[in-house]
Amino acid sequence: MIREKLLSGKFTITAEISPPKGTDVNWMMKEAGMIKNAVDALCVTDNQRAIMRMSPIAACSALLQHGYETIMHLTCRDRNRLALQSELLGAAGLGIKNILVMSGDYPTKGDHPGAKPVYDLDSVQLLDMISRLNKGVDLSGNRLEGKTEFFAGAVSNTELTEVALMKLEKKIKAGAHFIITQAVFDPGKFSEFLDQVHDAGGKKIKIIAGIIPLRSRKTADFLNRNIAGVKVPDNVIKRLSSSSDPGALGIEMAADMIKELREICDGVHIMPVGTHENTRKILEMAGL
């Protein structure tokens, strides 16, 4: 269980996995199979980048039946407070223990740009609501028959403005137990981020660093252009451009990054571009 592992101070590995665009879960199961027993939990996305997919609650349930521990993403974009709470009660009922909360990319970024954006709650308010459900009461103060026992997390960029740091403090105050960060490419800057969070009162919070193994210069450019909060530094792009085998170099760089981060934070979260075919190898090279 990642709650116990993180809280006991053991280095924890999570990996991102997407529900299918359709009803066929075979590809998702194959992806999960590639990293079985190599990671502690699968982090299941919620219509990521505002692209419609199978609900994370259904995908988590299918993965749980196959013996995987999951972290269910839950965004504020698509559901109001009634739907968020009933989804959370349903998730608890299905045995889902961990929730990762985020605002959610704006609908115009995805494949249903005309969708009505909900954002009834923000991520701070959603974390606070989960804390209430964990105490056995809903957002209106009604008592629940059976409370939830969620281990809740939040997300964060690693380069924060003063006001972004202030929001992160609120997420911790509202009940976040752990933070998964956007992809880290600069350990020096990441170390500054850790200091910032600890100084801001988050001494107990568990921080899991995001890792995106790069495949080529093209991947790096794509991430810099399209993914909020990702900044692949110039020196990394230069190394990839001049390499005769950028794929292998990307694997090596990811493994080196994990080795370095292992000394300073509580875990890593692998977010591959495409598939998990190299994830096991990266973790082995990092000595995990």
Partner: protein
């Protein structure tokens, strides 16, 4: 001020099937934005005429959303009787008021966008989220409900980068709120967790 945008003329033509049209402009917000004042109404009259419509008359009400009575409008504009349809060049408020009293089809010429304002010659969009529960002073006078596309009340989302919003070209209002409160020496209040909005205030009014 209600911020509106002109519909595409071809879309208006597609919607308005009737031939005999009476045009109603609005002397308030729409006129100020040059979308429904006298020059725009006369221009619309000309274009409809060229497109084969018969404009039986036109007027610019002092305010389309605030009329004494339909009889009053009729008395001042007897040509209305010849019309089969009205084209109203105002915000949705004006179109709705005219629709509630007119006995013929009413069509909008504008799309209503947001509650904004004008400062000098600059039109500013989406200033207020019309939540019916104003606490704008907490945010240095910048409304996060109206000005953040995600209506975030506790700080910026992860899409706010270098002071820019992820949604479009606008600035991140949370950066502006922070700058403003910092300059006023009132940053402490921003650290409070603000609860979700009570939307029952908006619809549950007696």
């Amino acid at each position: 001020m209600i911020i509106s945008r002109s519909k595409e003329f071809k879309d208006i033509l597609k919607t308005v099937q009737q031939r005999n049209i009476f045009i109603i402009g609005c002397g308030k917000c729409a006129a100020k934005q040059h979308l429904g004042g006298e020059p725009e109404v006369l221009e619309m009259k000309k274009k409809l005429g060229i497109s084969g419509k018969n404009v039986v008359g036109c007027t610019v009400l002092s305010s389309a959303c605030n009329i004494a009575s339909w009889d009053d409008v009729l008395t001042q504009n007897p040509d209305i009787k010849k019309a089969e349809a009205f084209l109203v060049m105002s915000c949705g408020g004006g179109v709705s008021i005219i629709s509630s009293v007119a006995d013929k089809a009413v069509y909008p010429a504008l799309d209503t966008e947001s509650l904004g304002g004008v400062c000098g010659d600059t039109i500013v969009l989406e200033q207020c989220g019309m939540c019916d529960d104003c606490d704008i002073w907490l945010f240095g006078g910048l409304c996060p409900v109206g000005q953040c596309p995600k209506s975030m009340r506790n700080g910026p989302c992860g899409g706010s980068l270098d002071g820019k919003c992820e949604v479009d070209e606008r600035k991140c209002v949370w950066d502006e709120i922070h700058t403003k409160l910092k300059s006023l020496g009132r940053l402490e209040g921003l650290k409070d967790i603000h609860p979700p909005k009570d939307h029952s205030k908006r619809r549950g009014r007696k």
